[in-house]
């Protein structure tokens, strides 16, 4: 750059390729990113466990053993156990119909599957209150016949289904598009039945993408708050899921109980992230390239 004689020996100057930034800039950017992530991501995570263990392990664990906490954990597991398989079945069916056939209006259907991403969770809950709430004809009839949906478990399942709707389908469609139809067509030509082609060819091809979608769907199903808060009615011990229980404990100033339950869900998030990263590192070629959630 300059015509002045170099004060240091030329070898002391590190050669830098034209396609990188100077080392100082590089480390400044890394430092900036790490500090922002520390303040925004890592610190809250530490705060959860710090608050939960403020009065010791025994006290924290005792709060989980309370009947209300126990029934919240059971309800959350139940809702996930219903929602996730339904969502996976929908995702596989939608991906099959969309990628194995050519039909009109495909783009519209994909947009509609994505719709729940841009709807507020609160609005999602509202949808089912309007449909099945006591103020609607259908809701009143259902309540009269002993099958309430809103302020009961079916409403929580429906709202969770809405929120997690695109998760599996969105993961499978790009992967199945990329894999094409040739392998299944070959199997059919050789006399395999449709189910056999699906079970022995399609399913092994999409298993990691399916697992990836199921993982994220499960995390969201267990953690959903807004939509569930609107439809659940928050009846203690009956329609209170773990995230709703956290809110109740928190509002009652039961800080340790709230953060302990939050810690349980944070551990679930850990497990989800670990498995997800493991999938991304090992089977990147069998997953969708961009994930939208």
């Amino acid at each position: 750059m300059t015509d002045f004689p170099a004060r240091t020996a030329p070898t002391a100057r590190r050669w830098r390729p034209a396609t990188t930034e100077p080392a100082a800039v590089k480390w400044a950017l890394i430092g900036l990113c790490l500090s922002v992530l520390t303040v925004l991501l890592f610190a809250p995570l530490i705060a959860i466990f710090d608050e939960a263990l403020r009065r010791g392990w025994a006290f924290a664990l005792a709060s989980l053993a309370e009947p209300d906490a126990q029934s919240a954990i059971q309800l959350t597991l139940l809702v996930a156990a219903i929602t996730v398989p339904l969502n996976a079945a929908f995702g596989i069916a939608a991906a099959w119909a969309i990628t194995k056939f050519d039909w009109r209006g495909k783009a519209w259907v994909i947009t509609l599957i994505d719709l729940p991403f841009s709807v507020s969770p609160v609005v999602a809950g509202l949808l089912f209150v309007l449909m099945f709430g006591a103020n609607s004809a259908l809701g009143a009839w259902l309540v009269a016949n002993g099958f309430p949906i809103v302020f009961a478990v079916p409403g929580i399942v429906l709202a969770t289904l809405f929120i997690t709707f695109p998760f599996v389908a969105r993961e499978l469609i790009p992967v199945m598009l990329e894999q094409g139809r040739a392998e299944e067509e070959a199997a059919l030509t050789l006399g395999a039945s449709g189910w056999r082609a699906f079970l022995t060819i399609t399913l092994p091809n999409i298993r990691w993408a399916l697992l990836y979608g199921v993982l994220l769907c499960n995390a969201r199903a267990m953690g959903e708050f807004g939509a569930v808060a609107v439809v659940s009615g928050k009846i203690r011990g009956q329609t209170t899921t773990m995230p709703l229980m956290i809110e109740m404990f928190y509002n009652e100033y039961l800080s340790v109980a709230a953060f302990t339950m939050a810690g349980v869900l944070a551990l679930l998030a850990f497990v989800t992230l670990t498995l997800k990263s493991a999938l991304e590192w090992r089977y990147a070629d069998q997953l969708a390239t961009t994930h939208r959630h």
Partner: protein, 283 residues
């Protein structure tokens, strides 16, 4: 060919059409289409556009809507800039703990919003670690003010831009950058004139996703927001309040207003995206 163009589905020997299409359409209808239809019908037919306008056209509702969209825009803009930066750092640089950081970026997807909400509140409340520090040194309150809402929405929208931009940076071949450098461009000029335009469409996609997510966000915000009417009361909370008062029409009107503004915003972003793709040429 002419005959086929009138049919709904192209003929194929592939089995499972009826079953897969049937499951897809049934679930899509039951879970998404009919409920959304009921909301729109309740609003426009049951309640009427005039009635809805009267509900929405009140200061408290306007303030809530303005707050929700303003905070979401600010948070998503922050995430747009920071997300591109972080994606660049994660793809191009090597540093200790990189894999851990890369995995942690998805934490907001995996961590339930209520958990994030109470954790952020614990940190940024006036008595929290960060809250006390900022209050003492800058005289700013974070939790229970609009700033707290920004923090929560930045948290929620953090992964979107990173995850849409990352694969694009990975695909950039060094030759274009080398060509730019050979032609005498400084590194900064190469970044702003060669790299950034290539990232723009993906970054905008991520921005739109983050915006859509943070406009409607509820769980992480209500704990840190303070929820003071007209000041820190977000639109989704107002819907919940209307529902608790059994004012279903009011809730429907605010919900439809939120949907309408969100779709208008996403439409604008889509148009910008089409424009930026066209400017970039066929990529």
């Amino acid at each position: 060919m002419a005959a086929r163009s009138f049919s709904f589905k192209a003929p194929t020997p592939m089995p499972g059409w009826g079953l897969s299409f049937g499951i897809m359409l049934t679930m899509l209808s039951v879970v998404v289409l009919i409920p959304m239809g009921v909301l729109i019908w309740r609003g426009f037919v049951g309640f009427g556009a005039v009635g809805m306008w009267e509900v929405v056209n009140r200061p408290r509702v306007w303030n809530a809507l303005a707050l929700s969209f303003r905070a979401a825009l600010i948070a998503s803009l922050f995430n747009l800039v920071f997300g591109v930066l972080l994606a660049w750092v994660l793809v191009r640089y090597r540093f200790p703990g990189k894999r851990l950081v890369d995995a942690a970026v998805d934490l907001p997807f995996a961590l339930p919003t209520a958990v994030a909400g109470i954790a952020l509140t614990a940190l940024y409340a006036p008595r929290g670690v960060f809250g006390a520090f900022i209050l003492e040194h800058f005289g700013l309150r974070i939790a229970y003010t609009e700033l707290g809402i920004w923090i929560a929405l930045i948290f929620v929208g953090l992964p979107f831009v990173v995850r849409t931009v990352q694969p694009v940076i990975e695909e950039i071949d060094r030759e274009t950058e080398e060509a730019s450098a050979t032609l005498g461009a400084s590194r900064l000029r190469t970044l702003t004139h060669v790299i950034l335009p290539r990232l723009a469409p993906a970054a905008l996609t991520g921005f739109a996703l983050a915006l859509a997510r943070s406009v409607g966000e509820y769980g992480s915000v209500i704990f840190i927001a303070g929820n003071l009417p007209n000041v820190t009361e977000i639109a989704p909370l107002l819907i919940v309040i209307r529902l608790e008062e059994f004012d279903y029409d009011g809730a429907v009107a605010i919900a439809i207003a939120m949907l309408a503004i969100a779709f208008a915003l996403l439409l604008v972003i889509n148009l910008i995206q089409i424009w930026s793709r066209r400017r970039m040429g066929a990529v």
